[in-house]
């Protein structure tokens, strides 16, 4: 082993050849370590295996785990600075590819792999990341069906969060106006891909909630590659959709099965065009529906009234109205008897009253001025006034004299006062 001399200067013997020549443990480990780090293959390689015993130390931030296959295992460590860049959370049982190097961990006398990168084996890292994010957000309740808000039946104002330059916006605009010519559209421009997109999209949703009177929000973009659509898989957008008080329709191009935004949205549309269709009703159809209700109201009420009037007609056709005597015959007899009885009572009463009256008349007759006149007295009147004293008249006054059987007109020729009681 020619290398030996170089590594352990000052020692000429081969290891084990001589009991007097020995190495310390540290020297051994150190020697092996140098062998390993001197090998270019072992210093940068990809290794495939299944993770087991994964531990992430909270304090240090370093991750320790074992990679294994059916027959063998090897210890691995990933330092905090590398762990930070992982897009997914490594778990036991996961098949991964790691890139790294080998060195000896002298304290335990074992070699281990220092991992620089890790990728899920077989599926893309992004895909795994999404899967994990989806599971986490789901567990946190962001996709709860109970939390979904209904889209109002009548929508007059639509908020749109998308790129003002995109075809998606033009599609949305066209379809919204086609279905509802009076619709108001409030656009909040946002980039829909790239590093700023998640925050801008989320901010757009929030702004529409805070500063507009939209009835519903459409958030989306046209189709694109998996990577292009990543903003719609971001936690920021999912949370903004979830927290929106206004109902949100997601409209992400249809090349992928779903985006996390779709799962969080109150309603998912496959395309921006479809989102616009879902957002507003077809006004002509809605109008026709109301017209139909009005017609049915009139018809149903008309029918009801006709029904009642027909019932009335049928009742009126009943025999009793044409020949009431048939039904009323007996009653009529009874009525006649009652009438006769009533009449008898009235006549009897009347006779009594008549007798009483004639007695009163005889009594009254005795007091009557007519009786006095019939005894030869007369009543002298001047106009309406009864003359009682001489001075009420003058010669020439015209007087009327009531006698028992008539009236005499007279003119005064003379008047004379007579002292009746002093005579």
């Amino acid at each position: 082993m020619p290398n030996y001399v170089k590594i352990c200067p000052g020692r000429d013997a081969k290891i084990g050849d001589n009991m007097n020549e020995y190495l310390s443990v540290s020297q051994l480990n150190n020697y092996i370590n140098r062998l390993l780090i001197g090998d270019s293959i072992l210093q940068d390689f990809w290794l495939k295996g299944e993770i087991s015993g994964f531990r992430l130390y909270q304090q240090s931030g370093h991750a320790y785990f074992t990679l294994k296959d059916e027959e063998a295992a090897v210890s691995c460590v990933m330092f905090k600075s590398r762990v930070r860049h992982l897009k997914f959370k490594p778990e036991d049982g996961m098949e991964v590819l790691i890139r790294g190097s080998i060195a000896v961990y002298a304290r335990q006398g074992k070699y281990q792999i220092y991992a620089e990168e890790m990728q899920p084996y077989g599926i893309g890292e992004l895909f795994l990341y999404l899967e994990q994010l989806k599971n986490r957000l789901k567990a946190e309740g962001y996709f709860d069906p109970d939390k979904k808000k209904p889209i109002p039946a009548l929508v007059n104002r639509v908020g749109v969060v998308t790129s003002q330059d995109g075809a998606a916006f033009q599609d949305i605009l066209r379809v919204l106006r086609q279905r509802h010519p009076g619709v108001e559209i409030i656009l909040v421009h946002s980039s829909v891909q790239g590093v700023d997109a998640p925050l801008e999209l989320a901010a757009g949703i929030k702004i529409l909630n805070d500063y507009s009177t939209a009835d519903v929000i459409i958030v989306g973009r046209g189709g694109g590659s998996f990577e292009d659509l990543m903003a719609f898989n971001s936690e920021e957008v999912v949370k903004a959709i979830y927290e929106s008080k206004l109902p949100v329709i997601s409209a992400v191009g249809h090349e992928v099965d779903y985006s996390l935004a779709d799962l969080a949205a109150d309603l998912r549309a496959a395309t921006p065009t479809q989102a616009a269709q879902l957002a507003v009703p077809d006004m002509l159809q809605l109008q026709a529906g109301i017209d139909d209700y009005q017609q049915r109201l009139l018809r149903a009420t008309g029918n009801r009234i006709n029904q009642c009037s027909e019932t009335l007609d049928r009742l009126m056709m009943h025999r009793v109205w044409r020949e009431p005597e048939i039904v009323l015959g007996k009653s009529e007899e009874k009525l006649a008897a009652l009438q006769k009885e009533l009449l008898d009572v009235v006549i009897e009463n009347w006779k009594v009253k008549e007798r009483e009256f004639s007695v009163s008349v005889i009594a009254l007759d005795k007091l009557s001025p007519l009786k006095v006149l019939s005894r030869g007295y007369a009543v002298v009147r001047q106009g309406d006034k009864i003359v009682q004293l001489v001075e009420e008249v003058t010669p020439g006054s015209r007087l009327q004299i009531d006698l028992s059987d008539g009236i005499v007109d007279a003119t005064v020729t003379n008047r004379e006062r007579v002292e009746r009681w002093k005579r």
Binding site: L154, G159, Q164, I207, Q294, L297, R304
Partner: protein, 71 residues
């Protein structure tokens, strides 16, 4: 009725029409419902005509306030 949501009004209208069409109501009740139904249908129609058809953009100005600009 001003505060009523369109879909609630539409739903009530639908219920009234169905009740009337069942024909099992007293005449007086059907006429009351008819009147209510006509009011609801007029309200719905009026709601349909409320929007103005503008397209605007909500933007933040230099003071950090949000403004609606016509597009």
């Amino acid at each position: 009725m001003e505060e009523m949501k369109f879909e609630d009004a539409l739903k009530m209208l639908e219920d009234i029409v169905e009740k009337l069409e069942s024909g099992s109501l007293e005449l007086e009740q059907s006429i009351q419902l008819f009147e209510q139904g006509v009011k609801l249908s007029l309200y719905c129609q009026q709601q349909l005509k409320q929007a103005e058809g503008r397209v605007q953009r909500l933007v933040k100005n230099l003071n950090g306030e949000f403004k609606l600009l016509d597009l």
